[in-house]
Amino acid sequence: MTTPRARAEGAPGRPLAEVAPARPALIDGWIVAAAVAVIAAYVRAIWFTPPEATQGLAQKIYYLHLPAALNAYLAFGVVFVTSIVYLWLRDDRADRVAEASAEVGLLFTTVVLTTGPIWGKPIWGTWWTWDARLTLTLFLWFIYAGYIVLRGAIIEPALRARYSAVLGILGALLIPFIHMSVYLFRTLHPMPIVLKPSAPSLPPEMLHTLLFSFAAFVLVYLALVRARYRLGLERVRLAELEASLEGGR
């Protein structure tokens, strides 16, 4: 009987190149688990959490907006740490994690900058205002969009990793200012009601929905970073193959 491994390595007498390579799954268990968790968070927020008395249903945007903001902080925090690790140890894995985390962080920041104005319009009466919290978050988006563009523009891997590590570290330094901006400046954006020194000022059913939603989006962060890291790894393999073919000519 042929074992799966023997089948993958090729039947006896048959050249390896003729055997179709095993096709890796494009959607893995992590992505499926994250999707299920997000659907559960949506269901809980929409149907099983009471609306706020004055804002009505628009307040439920909170269960998407805040977890996206916190995961963006997490993602860029990981970029900060792994970029330092790269500059210190020159380990390519740290650079690939930073690359993956920056891209996913940019996605979360895009969600923040999309859901925020949709929430702001009915509550503040305007889609956008140039106050400190909103403007600094937009700057953060531009910095990491620049980070992605920079990575695409530099061909030499070591140079690309070094320059983007510096930008990744400097960009993440904006996060404490964004968090503190509501205390430092007069802004339309409300003060934190969960991430503050005293106890969260939310009713328990809303707080539980928020925590559930946050956990679901952490899972989304992990699943997407994992998938993006794998893509980075396969791009390295492709570059090596192309280089070996160039060298063989």
Binding site: G56, K60, A68, L107, P122, L224, E234, L238, L241
Partner: protein, 46 residues
């Protein structure tokens, strides 16, 4: 209570769409890279 259901639905649909589009972009980019790797490996094996 304010009538804000339209904004609530818009935000949930917009966020869901962004997450799905990004995941789809990962799948498409990965498929493209894997196809190119498979083509090159077939070339080397010949």
């Amino acid at each position: 209570m304010a009538e804000t259901a339209g904004y609530f639905h818009a935000a949930y649909i917009a966020a869901g769409t962004l997450y799905v589009l990004y995941t789809a972009s990962l799948v498409v980019r990965r498929r493209r890279v894997l196809r190119r790797i498979a083509a090159l490996e077939r070339g080397i094996g010949r």
